[in-house]
């Protein structure tokens, strides 16, 4: 089939040849597959963006604990700290960390979130995208374009590997979310095609091997806080990419490495909670308390 976009290389050359942005090329490609018109994709992006904003808003004001009792008040703690002491990374980074926890905590309370790409990694893309958009006055239309850019990055990775911890470990969930967030951010900052793809590549290169070993099999430890870490990771990658720092290993090869790493990873470390953090002394004790 002609004109398929299944690799970053194809995405880059499609954009270059047609003189289009990533989100434009992505929308064209979706439409060419038949079912998803530009209108339909934009409508979903708007719906998702609204739900992301609403999850952040609700999460910022809640201290309700999760059904397991393991978590739920970290966002509140962070906000209190930042009231008195600003983050050394600056006010937007501060907002990103806070928004990430707000969304992730809403998730474990069974609140409404957007799986982007998954529920466990739901805090990363919204926090980076919305915090930056607020602080730098990005229009809603450009936020939607950034979310579609992020979606295209996630889609291309998903061609080669399923975005599920059970298949690829956390590199495939929070790792990919971070790459998506980095692309969205770099898009909003006016980065070019190369810089956007590079930002994603730099993220993925630096999450290789990240395992999925949640305590008690719940999307809580280490997932909630990990969302915050990988949101800042996305910012680091965007800064490097905007400085034209290039990933010497191209994005597609990094995805290949990631897929191979996922396959080599023991099943004990892929969402089975049979190894790693999930089998530490403390985790086993928590398991007894919670699951009985």
């Amino acid at each position: 089939m002609e004109n398929t976009i299944t690799t970053f290389r194809q995405l880059y050359y499609t954009c270059k040849e047609t003189n289009k942005k990533i989100y434009e090329a992505a929308l064209d490609y979706e439409a060419s597959k038949g079912e998803n018109t530009e209108y339909k994709v934009r409508l979903q992006a708007k719906k998702s963006l609204d739900a992301m904003k609403s999850a952040i808003k609700t999460g910022l004001c809640s201290t309700e604990s999760s059904p397991s009792g393991l978590s739920g008040n970290d966002c509140d703690k962070l906000q209190k700290r930042f009231k008195d002491y600003g983050a050394i990374l600056g006010s937007t980074a501060q907002k990103i960390m806070t928004y990430t926890l707000a969304t992730s905590e809403q998730n474990l309370r069974m609140g409404t979130i957007v799986a982007c790409p998954t529920a466990g990694s739901c805090g990363i893309v919204p926090a980076v995208l919305i915090a930056y958009a607020e602080d730098y006055n990005i229009t809603e239309n450009d936020q939607i374009n950034a979310l579609i850019t992020a979606g295209e990055i996630g889609r291309i990775v998903s061609v080669k590997m399923a975005l599920a911890g059970a298949v690829g470990g956390c590199q495939a969930e929070c790792g990919v979310a971070s790459a998506m967030a980095s692309a969205a951010l770099t898009q909003m900052r006016g980065g070019n095609i190369k810089q956007i793809i590079n930002a994603s590549a730099l993220v993925l290169k630096n999450v290789l091997g990240l395992t999925c070993d949640p305590v008690c099999g719940l999307v809580e430890i280490p997932c909630v806080k990990r969302n915050s870490f990988l949101a800042i990771h996305a910012v680091t990658a965007s800064e490097l990419a905007m400085a034209n720092i290039i990933s010497k290993i191209p994005a597609d090869e990094i995805v290949d490495a990631m897929e191979q790493t996922g396959k080599l990873m023991s099943p004990l470390l892929k969402e089975s909670s049979q190894g790693g953090l999930a089998k530490t002394k403390t985790a086993i004790a928590l398991e007894k308390n919670i699951l009985g």
Binding site: E30, N36, N107, T112, A119, G120, G154, A162
Partner: protein, 222 residues
């Protein structure tokens, strides 16, 4: 090669915390509800393995019931589904089991009422689900296509009759899956179609000789 769309990556809007254990559970319930197709007197949910073990913490039990009640994956009522008027309106029961021959995220729905029916399904990750058995017949229903499910007397010519009627409706068949209990006994057919089957077409198929169950199961929209 896997074909996903951007829409899959930036959605669904859902009640947390887990795509496989919460959203997947709701979608399994919704699809099973469409298969049963009438209000049951009672539903027994049998949760297996990871669904049984971490289901409470992930709200898998709530998700399954919410799906049976017709709530969507983003419905705010999922969290407190046990207290809703809809839930009080039917009898339900949960069993938490271990069977390592089953998928880690497996569930059986046992419907009782005018018709007794058992439906088995699994949640395969990232909110994707598949119903694998209906009344012991193997099926392959993932909610991505409008699907015609038939249970009928096994005899020569049925597949040709049914596909002929669908052809007359000018609808393309995306996949066809058949199974039977034994030669000459009951058989099942799962036909996924692109587009929509007309009322006439469905009626014509229902009117075929010795059809026991005819269900037109719409694809799941999040």
């Amino acid at each position: 090669m896997r074909q996903t769309s951007i829409i899959d990556i930036i959605s669904p809007v859902m009640a947390g915390p887990s795509s496989s254990h919460t959203a997947g559970a709701v979608r399994l319930g919704l699809l099973a509800r469409n298969v049963y197709n009438t209000k049951p007197d009672k539903v027994t949910f049998k949760l297996y393995n990871s669904y049984a073990l971490t289901g409470k913490g992930h709200g898998t039990d709530k998700g399954l019931l919410a799906g049976i009640l017709g709530f969507s994956v983003a419905d705010e009522r999922i969290k407190n589904v046990f207290g809703t008027p809809e839930a009080n309106n039917i009898n339900y029961e949960f069993e938490f089991l271990e069977d390592f021959n089953r998928h880690p995220n497996a569930v059986d729905f046992i419907f009782e009422g005018g018709l007794k029916m058992s439906v088995s399904g699994t949640s395969i990750g990232a909110g994707e689900i598949v119903l694998t058995k209906i009344n012991g017949f193997s099926v392959n229903l993932d909610g991505k296509y409008n699907t015609l499910l038939l249970v009928y007397d096994d005899m020569p010519g049925v597949i040709s009759n049914v596909t002929g009627i669908i052809q007359e409706d000018n609808v393309n068949i995306a996949s066809l899956h058949c199974d039977r209990s034994a030669k000459g006994k009951t058989a099942s057919m799962c036909i996924c179609v692109d587009g929509e089957l007309s009322k006439n077409c469905l009626q014509e198929i229902s009117d075929l000789k010795d059809m026991y169950i005819v269900r037109y199961i719409k694809k799941l929209e999040d």
